[in-house]
Symmetry: C2
Subunit: 410 residues, 2 copies
């Protein structure tokens, strides 16, 4: 295996990868006048890989992108809008999604079938195609390979996010360096398989589409599929990776290629970072909560316990209230459906034991409150049965979550 090092880049995003341009503009889809349309483009053709929501009500752009992906075509980019999800919009929605891609292809003078599309926002409203058309052309004429292009694009895909989410990792190898970068948006309906979550990852590494898809499936399972804000799985979730090979390194055609582990590690870093950022910025969230489950008989059991805790409204409100109400955590372990032997279960908050082998432990409530006052809170459960583990990220359930979601459409 080749030697490599990873370097997180400051103030960087999808355009940090060579050969990618992007921009985000205010097309007028959001009443607020904020940025709401993004275009990402590489003149060099890209291999691509993608993972989509498993919701039966997939939005039109998801269906469209599944066709693009399965065509196996090399692609040039993606057009994304916020403000309207183009979900539950019937046949017209499919026509609109296709037209949105065609507009982007025409604006960039690209071959038909070489653009993906993504939409996020309110469900059940038709796309204002005139606005989309003008917006894409405006974005196309202002595309930028510098920092501003990526930064604007990351802002344009936001809905209830309080800030944009970007990351870039440079990988230095014996053969030379390449970069993996990404942008994502949350921030409600975040749940395994997957979330009202859009994520676009760029890389200037060169990799065959099949290898890229295998790699993406692998890293998704321990990142985007292990986060939850409110347990809802949306109609539009998409993670897309575009690889344009502009770093001029040898192409990864198999797992045996010396750059394969380097790209896998970098991709994993990027998606895990963005997944955590989405939860940290979950609707109304005050805490990022990490749930670690160890000692499970099977990986599926470990994940079931982690999800059960992470989705418990009672656990999430207790954390909001800075209340070390460990009984709610143990209760969620108990109804997870996983194989449990109560007398073998232990629980820690941070490094402080709350519950050991089925029995409560006297603990310092004040220290517990201090741990719960941190921005990042960590619960670790040891089932004491096997050697399988899982980590999941969630956030607390707050008054602000209710504020945001009781009045989303108004």
């Amino acid at each position: 295996m080749a030697h490599y090092t990873l370097e997180y880049l400051n103030d960087a995003g999808i355009t940090t990868c060579r050969g990618f341009k992007a921009n985000g503009i205010a097309a007028g889809l959001k009443k607020s006048g904020k940025l709401d349309l993004a275009l990402v483009y590489s003149s060099a053709p890209c291999t691509s890989a993608a993972v989509f929501t498993r919701n039966a009500f997939k939005a039109a752009p998801v269906w469209y992108d599944m066709q693009v992906l399965s065509s196996g075509a090399l692609v040039h980019g993606v057009a994304v809008n916020s403000g309207c999800a183009n979900a539950c919009t019937g046949d017209q929605g499919m026509i609109d999604a296709r037209e949105m891609a065609q507009i982007a292809e025409q604006a960039m003078e690209a071959t038909p079938g070489t653009f993906y599309v993504m939409s996020t926002g309110v469900i059940g409203q038709h796309m204002p195609m005139d606005t989309i058309n003008k917006g894409i052309h405006q974005a196309a004429t202002t595309l930028c390979g510098e920092r501003a292009g990526g930064a604007n694009a990351a802002k344009a895909i936001m809905t209830t996010d309080t800030h944009s989410k970007e990351v870039a990792v440079r990988v230095n190898t014996d053969e030379g360096s390449f970069t993996v970068a990404g942008m994502a948006k949350g921030s409600g309906m975040i749940h395994p398989n997957m979330a009202t979550m859009l994520c676009i990852i760029t890389t200037d590494a060169a990799i065959a589409a099949e290898q890229l898809q295998t790699m993406l499936n692998k890293v998704i399972d321990s990142s985007f599929n292990m986060i939850t804000v409110d347990g809802d799985t949306s109609t539009n979730d998409t993670v897309l990776v575009l690889a344009n090979g502009a770093a001029d390194l040898s192409a990864i055609e198999s797992e045996a290629h010396p750059l394969y582990p380097a790209l896998l590690t970098a991709l994993d870093e990027v998606v895990t970072h963005l997944a955590r950022e989405i939860v940290r910025d979950g609707e109304g969230a005050e805490h990022l909560v990490e749930i670690v489950v160890e000692g499970a008989v099977t990986k599926e059991d470990a994940r079931a316990v982690a999800r059960s805790i992470a989705n418990s409204s009672l656990v999430k409100t207790a954390i909001y209230g800075r209340d070390a109400n460990w009984g709610r955590v143990i209760c969620a372990v108990g109804y997870s459906g996983a194989t449990i032997e109560p007398e073998k279960v232990s629980l820690k908050l941070g490094d402080m034991a709350l519950f050991s082998k089925g029995t409560p432990i006297d603990f310092d409530e004040e220290h517990a409150s201090q741990l719960l006052a941190q921005k990042e809170v960590r619960f670790a459960v040891d089932l004491g049965l096997g050697n399988q583990s899982a980590t999941m990220w969630t956030c607390d359930l707050t008054h602000e979550y209710v504020n945001i979601n009781a009045n989303y459409r108004t």
Copy 2:
């Protein structure tokens, strides 16, 4: 089949059934000084049936009651406390649960093994047995077969409930009349299989234990197993039925007995009524929400869709906000895991169509808001695929839910 009529009784409860006495007193378990210990007693021995939480961390009283049930003994009653759940309390918890039953048996001069026990409240704290002991004796000396006895008992089992929940149904048959009555407490951790939910049902009908258990399992599936407040399944949930035969009718020994359908119907009425009351009084709830799913291929699919909607935080906050955000309902249908063909799915709010065969319908937003302003809100989903249906009850997710649960222990 014998002819029978059902009659809901006003201002009635568990002591309305002949031969049952009860009381609720303030033993000092709740800091507030409110009623916190109940005793229910029948001098005539009772057959019994019970259903318990499926949480792996069953509380000590649940384990104890499972022993009493499996012993097949005729029983005389149940002692219940609020304020302390006796859950996650290890070996001491088991000793305390057994001792609590023994105290009740001694206080009532009953044979060992003839009392059930139930506890609800904070998890992980040991039972103050001196307080329990004094409390049970105080309740035993003040037992009352009149209205007040049942009413006080219903109050003493409350935790975050805002009011007590009681119901009584008289059944008039050719052979004579009998009564089925019940009391229950919620109001958080309410979820299928089951809830921080205690329910005690009395009847003066006579029925073999085996038939009573079959009957209870049947009615639970469409009542207590179809309600949710917050998706959490607690450690203590118990539904107990005591039948003392004091109505002096012939004993139901098989399904062929002429009184079997009458008792089944009455029991179903009682548990469904109490289940709905628990949701209506869910923590912070402003609306009782009924989710009806029709047209499913299988019963399990119908239930999966109903549960998916009923547990969606986004649906529940939208109802709180009186926002006809049907996209969230459809989204929850889509991730339910049930067999769905999106283009066949329809949705109504009350009698107003919002979505028909996969396509949004223009609807009167003002009328929708009026429907959502009602105390009872009803969503009906038709999957358009088969003839199986399910009904589930939930409540909205409110600021007050967060208030209550962020500060429960303090």
